[in-house]
């Protein structure tokens, strides 16, 4: 197998009338999906733009997934644009990507017009008037190889400038095979999709659905805000498999939804994207004793995931859930700052090698060279590894534990401190919706932001004093009405730092300004 479209074609042959994708309003069967994707592919082939990026600006609908497959049919690769992102960011992405075309619909035309894009624009409304050009589609397919890109997904870089991660067929196939075999997915699998299609986690939902001829229901976003009918939505559609970010799972535990509506129909619950608070997992596990839970770990640069841990024991509320071991057909290395393999228990940066690795960053050789490097443990032949920037260590069971981001590991009063460890203790101190510790290097202070309806700063302080050494205690605790999140729903530490500097840090005279005045 060399092309992800084979998944779609196999499913359409075996289960043509089965629903592939659905949302609140519409459904698409495998037969319709195949036909629409081939129609879109045929139109794009006529534009003769092959092996170039095509940006897709659509709502989160079943038809938008047909558009993605259509782009792949044309021999191009797709970039999903977040329809809700600010115009400035969309502009930055369009500039970096310089797509050969943008695929959109009339309801998103105004948004596209706000950008500087002046290349060809195709409207979904115009693409389904002609039958697929089978001869052209076969010609393109015959030329395709498994290292051709499938997509470019943009991640927010730590500097705030988005980077486009290029992922090829071979990576998506290797990853999707691992998911399907490990979690025993099949045609009876029904996904309840939470993650946006511009986010790498959705790669699991989308391609696992196709590989296993499963069905995917897009959960309306509003059900994660007003969750009264969230569990009903899943039950009514026989959803049995979830792959959500921990903050979405936390909505269920914060509102104690299972106390009102049990969900024994959930067989498999996977999570990734951020650290899973043990407290949230414990609520889920207590209410779903028969369900398989697994913690998945990985960045967009390794397609989605490189290591995983199937939950097989009970965790204390303050404990961290391991990230486990490497996925099948993928390898992870823990390398110390002096370039050797870490011993058990010793911390090091996690590096990844193998077919899950992305090709690099689009139109960005510098950033690619920084992160995709020669395997430091192999001087003998070229072998790229991806440097995750995450510090990990192995516990006594040989499982990998996530320690912190390389950038979050700080030296404070001479001690090396993991900000994540402070956060884990805060979460264990009571009903905390969200928290983040940041480090003010100038003042050598740890600052803790938190959001909680019931717990106040003195209570958190006391809990931390009972659990942490003195040098790890935050100098300031700041309660927020709203935690700041970035577009993928993760805590936005850069913005928190800026907020701290502009609103909370004691005003220090600007030396430069004073000199000039």
């Amino acid at each position: 197998m060399k092309n992800i479209l084979e998944y779609l074609e196999n499913a359409a042959e075996m289960f043509p009338e089965k629903i592939a994708f659905a949302d609140e309003f519409s459904t698409i069967t495998y037969r319709e999906l195949l036909l629409k994707a081939q129609m879109i592919g045929s139109v794009l082939i006529r534009k003769s733009i092959g092996r170039s990026p095509v940006a897709v600006l659509l709502g989160k609908t079943p038809e938008s997934l047909a558009a993605l497959m259509g782009v792949v049919y044309s021999g191009c690769f797709y970039t999903v644009l977040d329809a809700e992102m600010p115009a400035a960011r969309m502009n930055a992405i369009l500039k970096d990507l310089a797509p050969a075309a943008v695929l959109t619909d009339q309801s998103h035309e105004a948004q596209l017009k706000q950008t500087n894009f002046n290349g060809p624009v195709l409207f979904m409304e115009d693409l389904f008037s002609e039958q697929p050009d089978r001869e052209a589609l076969s010609r393109v397919r015959a030329k395709s190889i498994d290292t051709d890109p499938v997509y470019v997904l943009f991640t927010s870089g730590s500097t705030g400038v988005p980077k486009g991660v290029v992922v090829c067929h071979r990576s998506v196939i290797a990853y999707t095979e691992w998911v399907g075999k490990t979690f025993h997915l099949n045609e009876n699998t029904v996904f309840g999709n939470q993650t946006p299609f511009y986010f790498s986690m959705s790669v699991l939902d989308l391609f696992s659905t196709l590989r296993n001829a499963a069905t995917l229901y897009i959960i309306p976003k509003k059900l994660f805000v007003f969750p009264a009918k969230l569990i009903d939505f899943l039950r009514e559609r026989n959803v049995n498999t979830l792959y959500w970010v921990p903050s979405a799972l936390a909505i269920v535990s914060n509102w104690k939804l299972f106390d009102y509506t049990p969900a024994p129909f959930l067989q498999t619950v996977l999570f990734a994207g951020e650290v899973m608070p043990a407290k949230v997992l414990n609520y889920w596990a207590a209410h779903l004793p028969e369900t398989l839970f697994a913690n998945l770990y990985g960045p967009t640069e390794v397609t989605d995931i490189c290591a995983y841990y199937v939950v097989n024991r009970v965790f204390d509320d303050a404990e961290s859930i391991p990230i486990g071991n490497a996925c099948d057909n993928c390898d992870v290395l823990v390398v110390t700052p002096d370039g050797r393999e870490a011993k058990p228990g010793e911390e090091g940066e996690l590096l990844v090698r193998g077919s899950f690795l992305a090709m690099g960053y689009y139109n960005n050789p510098e950033k690619t060279a920084e992160s995709f490097v020669q395997n430091p443990l192999n001087p003998y032949f070229p072998e790229p590894v991806y440097k995750t920037g995450d510090i990990v260590k192995r516990n006594s069971l040989g499982e990998l534990l996530y320690v912190t981001r390389k950038d979050f590991q700080i030296k404070h009063m001479g001690y090396r401190i993991e900000l994540g460890e402070i956060e884990a203790c805060v979460y264990a101190s009571g009903e905390i919706e969200s928290c983040a510790a940041i480090y003010d290097a100038d003042a050598d202070q740890i600052i803790l932001f938190y959001q909680s309806g019931t717990v106040d700063s003195p209570a958190i302080s006391e809990a931390l004093r009972n659990r942490l050494p003195k040098y790890m205690l935050p100098s300031r605790l700041i309660r927020l009405d709203h935690m700041l999140y970035n577009q993928s729903g993760k805590i936005d530490r850069n913005r928190l730092k800026l907020k701290y500097e502009s609103e909370y840090k004691a005003a220090v005279p600007h030396k430069k300004g004073a000199e000039h005045n």
Binding site: V225, A228, E433, S434, D481, M483
Partner: protein, 76 residues
């Protein structure tokens, strides 16, 4: 109703809650602001809001929130 408007202005001071009819669609209310809003409402109006009340139609506008409060007070 005035008490409710005061609480809502606490969530977002820049919105005219007497006019806004689609608090979710216009991104004024989200899951996080809801988490803050609910305990305030419960305390001020002496009601208990359960997950069953967390329906989009109850939180469309200040009016629908007020209608929910009145209903919960009557039933309580």
């Amino acid at each position: 109703m005035d008490k409710l408007l005061e609480i809502l202005r606490g969530v977002n001071p820049d919105v005219d809650f007497t006019k806004e009819k689609d608090l979710f669609g216009s991104h004024i209310l989200d899951s996080l602001s809801l988490v803050m809003l609910i305990p305030d409402l419960e305390e001020t109006f002496d009601i208990e809001i359960t997950p069953a009340d967390l329906l989009p139609e109850n939180f469309e506008s200040a009016e629908t929130i007020y209608a929910m409060i009145t209903r919960l007070q009557e039933n309580g």
